[in-house]
Subunit: 200 residues, 2 copies
DNA sequence: AATATAACGGAATGTTTATTCCAAATTACT
DNA sequence: AGTAATTTGGAATAAACATTCCGTTATATT
């Protein structure tokens, strides 16, 4: 396993981020209820004892990996945000990245946050909180990009920037669902093209 | 139970459509793996024996209820299609219906087809077939509406109608996910407004 | 060398699960 | 009246499940 470090009392010291990423992967692929503890042990390389020692139980691990996934999702946006581009260019780059990721990772099951919204948000309040926080965070960044594009006069809009960010967020969700519904790169690219064209 | 008829040998003759609709409801709420046989018995009013006699097993019932849900979803589009409206008006009516249904049924968990795509499509080929067929059927109808709107000169487009139907389909999926992510009527209405405005 | 710490394998537990089975109940048809 | 058809409740089964527990190993610190 790649998670080994050898500094603490015994050798197989696992890396928490590695575990959360692997757990997010298996939950994304099989869903919360479809993932067994054995699946998690295989995916993370953790021992049964370590899992319960360090993550309390399956549900707690799920929430931690969902939170981790959400943070890394928001960080992807922030790394686009850090580039020296205007808001419209950032939007274009983001959508290009999203489509590429979806078509390059056909084994992955779309997006853990979308899947969590579908499977768990009505059953588990904490899940719905993470899903909702993700929506807010993403929309805030999108809003700032739209405002920037308007300011720099590369975009002309006639509604509050927030409304456009809601619209763009719905497209982001739609792309994830469509890639799980048999849509290929051409179709996803069409959707992005119309979405971005519609801003002008 | 409302499914009772009394014509056949014994009394509790159940109505297959009623059962499939109830099953679709509980699968939508709890997901496939989150729904137990006891949940299904309670939701459908079926006896354990009848379930296995008539629907083979849980997975088979899931597929039948998913197929049933997909047909009734497509039929909703067709009933809009039957109205004496131009293509653009049909689009507006459809989106209004979708938003109203989402906000009027907060207990329901979005859309069984979206949830099935998220939870099951990578694990079960038959599920992915139904999900994919739904996408094709819906897009075909949307395409015909867009072509009609163009023909009647209420819409001016510069790409094949099919491309716009893919875009509209992504919005439909996005709306369902967003309603499971804490979006209220105002937000969903904003998304619809921008989507429809973008066609002009 | 001794000890405390951290992780391990794997057996054990008890619950939940889907599914099968069977005897009983009910009614239409002959 | 009797028989076949159909559904029922509920016990029985067996597998899968999450979780707990314990003895062992390994090492960093004292």
């Amino acid at each position: 396993m790649l998670s080994q470090i050898t500094l603490m009392p015994k050798n197989k010291q696992f890396n928490k981020e590695f575990v959360l990423e692997a757990a997010a992967g298996i939950f994304m692929e099989k869903g919360y209820n479809g993932t067994s503890i054995d699946d998690i042990l295989k995916a993370t390389g953790l021992s049964r004892s370590s899992l319960y020692d360090s993550f309390v139980d399956k549900h707690n691990l799920y929430l931690q990996s969902l939170e981790f996934y959400k943070e890394s999702n928001v960080n992807k946006l922030k790394s686009v945000d850090d580039k020296n581009l205007n808001g419209l260019q950032k939007l274009e780059l983001l959508f290009k990245n999203v489509v590429n990721h979806l078509v390059d990772h056909p084994n992955e099951n779309g997006c853990l946050l979308v899947n969590a919204a579908a499977e768990m948000s009505k059953q588990c309040y904490k899940t719905s909180q993470v899903v909702c926080n993700n929506k807010d965070d993403v929309q805030d960044i999108l809003t700032s990009w739209i405002s920037d594009a308007e300011l720099k006069k590369v975009l002309k809009i006639n509604k509050p920037a927030k409304v456009y960010s809601q619209f763009l967020y719905s497209t982001l969700c739609g792309l994830r669902v469509m890639s799980q519904s048999g849509a290929g790169k051409a179709e996803l690219t069409n959707v992005v093209k119309i979405t971005l064209d519609s801003l002008n």
